[in-house]
């Protein structure tokens, strides 16, 4: 243990450029071995790039990386691995059709060859057990709950005797109890002497697990690593957001944005909607199984005008199918859907959009925009689909209308002929808002509307949804971020395995919502 005094991982003046964009500039940071280090920052702060530099996946344009005091060649995964640095990615990379044993064997060693299933099971059982991953090694990855998949990912990363384990946003996909399990696992790794670097973006989580915290903002290191005892939630929040922006946000909003404390929500207190006829009524809706996600199983859901209903749940529990069912993009096996007083059960999406359905879809760059098409084409698609396909249009007039609308939504762009793919995530989302949030909107589905956006853009989207709500639209918000849901929803509905597993009203209790996200028995209602 002669290395004990040397930092487990050290970066000296690391700068990373992607084309004209500087993702990291002059990052100098060193992590003491055997501790749990948190790296925090908002979206776009450079957290993931930092992790990828350490793991050798990104070649920095300047700077050096040291592991246990030894300099390693940057930009080479095998070099980082040999030095004992392993990265578990934000989105898991386990092949869904593999069994656990196969995923361990081929994921960890990357070797091919002849093998016996039984042999593999024997080989990996002890390793998984030593890391408290309780799983039948013959089950397929796709059949496992997400917490277990993550456990396997971590186990796989530790096969090569890793000394530094980096977890990139490991909590983003987990339920509150899943997060507790993960943190327990991380603490046991610390006891085994592994240095763990957690990329996080919620202050609550940082304070709950880390020994030190490092804050990135806009590709620069703001502070850190600070011993956790020396920082308050308040200070950390300001460090993450930046003092300038912190002053423009109200305290409540800022706390929800950075996850300072356990959120409860205040409840917007819009009472008039209780009596108005509902905008969306789903009765006993079930969908046919397809390969795009788990089927709905008897969903009852009602949303009234002027109400924001949040859908909580661990990702993959039918949220996407719910959106597809309301949008006529999934086949119903059963049940009925009424929209703005009309039975639309068998009607196509165009008809539903005609009576006021608007969708901010999950995948901004796939379902929301055609990145290689111009802004005005993207913006005008919804309206063009409402008339005859052969209707003559004047592109100059459409572009003018588009310009007006994009200005109103303060999109920053050069001209409406530029490709949608040239916009930043926040601006791209504003283009979608400009298209989907209009005065005729009756029901707006907002599916992960702030994913990947920085704090300013996130606050903008929330504001837009609240405004639409105040104008009488009904809003269905799907999010995996409980802070977001609690902050702006009037009601939260929890989905589990394609069903509604509980409904809550503000003030929200994170513990009971979290229980409903994972435990089928807890059919609580508040």
């Amino acid at each position: 243990m002669s290395n004990a005094s040397k930092p487990a991982l050290e970066c000296r003046d690391v700068t990373v450029k992607f084309g004209d964009v500087t993702a990291l500039s002059d990052i100098a940071v060193s992590f003491v071995p055997g501790q749990i280090h948190a790296v925090v920052g908002q979206n776009g702060a450079g957290k993931t790039t930092f992790a990828r530099v350490a793991a050798g996946l990104v070649q920095p344009s300047a700077g050096a990386v040291y592991v246990m005091g030894e300099e390693i060649r940057t930009g080479h995964v095998d070099q980082s691995r040999a030095a004992g640095v392993e990265l578990v990615h934000q989105s898991f990379a386990l092949p869904p059709s593999f069994t656990v044993a196969e995923a361990m064997e081929f994921g960890a060693t990357g070797k091919g060859g002849i093998y016996s299933r039984k042999g593999l099971v024997e080989k990996w059982r002890a390793h998984l057990a030593s890391l408290d991953v309780q799983v039948d090694l013959n089950r397929r990855i796709r059949d496992l709950p997400i917490e277990t998949q993550q456990g396997i990912e971590i186990a796989r990363a530790l096969v090569m005797d890793a000394r530094v384990l980096i977890l990139d946003e490991p909590t983003a996909v987990l339920s509150p109890s899943g997060i507790d399990m993960l943190f327990a696992r991380v603490r046991r790794l610390k006891e085994r002497g592994v240095t763990v670097i957690l990329i996080l973006h919620k202050i609550r989580e940082v304070l709950g697990i880390a020994d030190t915290v490092t804050v990135l903002r806009g590709g620069r290191k703001v502070e850190g690593p600070l011993p956790i005892a020396e920082v308050s939630a308040e200070r950390l929040a300001n460090l993450i957001v930046g003092d300038a922006i912190a002053r423009t946000l109200d305290r409540h909003e800022r706390d929800a944005l950075v996850g300072t404390t356990s959120p409860v929500g205040e409840g917007a207190g819009h009472l008039e909607h209780k009596t108005a006829p509902s905008v969306l009524t789903m009765k006993a809706v079930s969908t046919r199984p397809d390969n795009e996600g788990i089927a709905l199983d008897g969903i009852d859901l009602e949303i009234r005008p002027g109400e924001i209903v949040g859908i909580a749940g661990v990702e993959g529990n039918g949220q996407k199918t719910l959106v597809r069912a309301i949008s006529a993009l999934a086949d119903l096996a059963n049940g009925s859907i009424r929209l703005a007083g009309e039975d639309v059960t068998g009607k196509p999406l165009a008809a539903r959009r005609a009576i006021g359905l608007r969708i901010i879809p999950f995948e901004r760059n796939v379902e929301g925009l055609s990145l290689t098409s111009s802004l005005w084409q993207n913006w005008s698609a919804r309206e063009l689909l409402q008339g005859s396909l052969l209707k003559l249009i004047r592109p100059a007039a459409v572009r003018e209308a588009c310009d007006r609308s994009l200005k109103e939504w303060s999109v920053s762009y050069h001209n409406s002929a530029q490709k949608a793919g040239s916009l930043s995530g926040g601006n791209a989302q504003k283009v979608i808002l400009a298209r989907e949030v209009d005065s005729q909107a009756r029901l707006i589905i907002a599916a992960q509307p702030t994913r990947g956006l920085d704090i300013g853009a996130t606050a903008f989207v929330w504001q837009a949804l609240r405004q639409a709500r105040d104008h009488g639209a009904a809003i269905l918000l799907i999010s995996s971020d409980l802070d977001e849901l609690f902050d702006i929803s009037d009601r939260v509905v929890v989905m589990l395995s394609g069903r509604v597993n509980g409904e809550f009203r503000a003030p929200f209790d994170i513990a009971s919502v979290g229980a409903a996200m994972t435990d089928a028995a807890a059919r609580t209602s508040a």
Partner: protein
């Protein structure tokens, strides 16, 4: 505007590259490259009467190529223009047999419509297979070309066989002179009018209708348009049908105009040249017109070279192949050379 200028510049650059490559090939094959290229230019555009000859080839190519552009825009790689061209001509030839003796002002439109329907039919089944069950349209339309070629052999040596034919190449009975839309030179006001009408209508469709915008969005990202409420199969199938109908129309023009009959294996490269034209034009309608004139010139030069200049007609095949080569490589190679494009599209 800057974008379209860039597109034009890019197309010109790869045509120039292709010609340089050809010059090298000619030189190594023992010809004087400059003489060869000059002879090509002479045969295509410079000698007297060359322009008319070039337009004779350019107009049907333009019609087919515009159709190809429509389906490519919508994201469907319909490479079956050749087959649709044949089936269009075959249907028009059958219709000519059926309507024989009718008044020309009725029969001529009827033949043209039959040809367009035939071409559309030959695009319909790959379109349905693609949109209903996801069958790759590149495979089906390519197979459709072979099937149409064999069908042409069959009808010209079977049901439509000309008994007085020479026996060298099976062909159909000649069309009554009353129903011809041009003499054997192949350039007539009717054909020019048809091509102009196609050009104007298709330009409007692409640039001035909701269909044009939505089909182009669908071609780049079908999922997005679906989430907007479009029925993809409607956009896709109409694009397929339009491209088939236009290829069929071109086949019909060749049948009713310069050829006056259909022959086994006639104009075997028409559809593929049209695809090349559409790609060189970057799928724009105006660009297609310009590119069609260029390739029409090459087609006419191919006939001129061996007779008037004593040079091999294969020179034109080499030029076509070289252009195809550079088009396939365009986004990577040419963009890198030009360094104008910014991010790749």
């Amino acid at each position: 505007m800057k974008d379209s200028l860039f597109t034009v510049a890019r197309s010109l650059v790869f045509v120039v590259f292709a010609l340089v490559l050809c010059a090298l090939v000619f030189q190594f094959a023992g010809y004087n490259a400059l003489t060869m290229l000059w002879a090509v230019a002479d045969g295509a555009f410079l000698r007297s009467g060359a322009i008319e000859q070039s337009l004779r080839w350019a107009l049907p190519l333009f019609i087919t190529a515009v159709g190809v552009g429509i389906s490519f825009r919508a994201g469907f790689f319909n490479i079956g223009a050749q087959g649709q061209f044949y089936v269009g001509a075959i249907c028009a030839a059958f219709a000519a047999e059926a309507f024989k003796g009718g008044p020309a002002f009725l029969v001529i439109p009827a033949l043209i419509l039959s040809g367009m329907l035939g071409g559309a039919l030959w695009a319909l089944w790959p379109g349905l297979l693609r949109l209903r069950s996801g069958t790759d349209e590149v495979i089906t339309t390519l197979m459709g070309n072979f099937m149409a070629g064999l069908l042409l052999v069959y009808v010209t040596s079977g049901p439509l066989k000309d008994p007085s034919g020479s026996g060298q190449q099976a062909s159909s009975r000649p069309l009554d002179a009353a129903y011809r839309i041009s003499d054997s030179l192949g350039l007539s006001p009717t054909i020019i009018a048809i091509a102009a009408a196609v050009g104007i209508l298709m330009w409007l469709l692409v640039n001035r209708t909701a269909f044009g915008v939505l089909a182009s969005l669908a071609g780049r990202n079908g999922t997005m348009v679906e989430w907007q409420g479009a029925r993809l199969w409607k956009l896709g199938l109409s694009s397929f049908l339009i491209s088939g109908a236009l290829a069929g129309l071109a086949g019909t023009i060749e049948f009713m105009g310069p050829n006056g009959r259909i022959a086994s294996g006639f104009l075997p490269a028409h559809g593929f040249t049209a695809i090349l034209i559409a790609l060189v034009a970057n799928l724009s309608v105006l660009g297609t017109a310009a590119a069609a004139v260029f390739f029409g010139g090459l087609a006419s030069a191919a006939l001129y070279l061996p007779i008037m200049a004593g040079l091999p007609a294969a020179a034109i095949d080499i030029i076509n192949a070289a252009i195809a080569l550079f088009i396939t490589a365009r986004s990577k190679f040419v963009d890198r050379v030009l360094r104008l494009g910014g991010r790749p599209q």
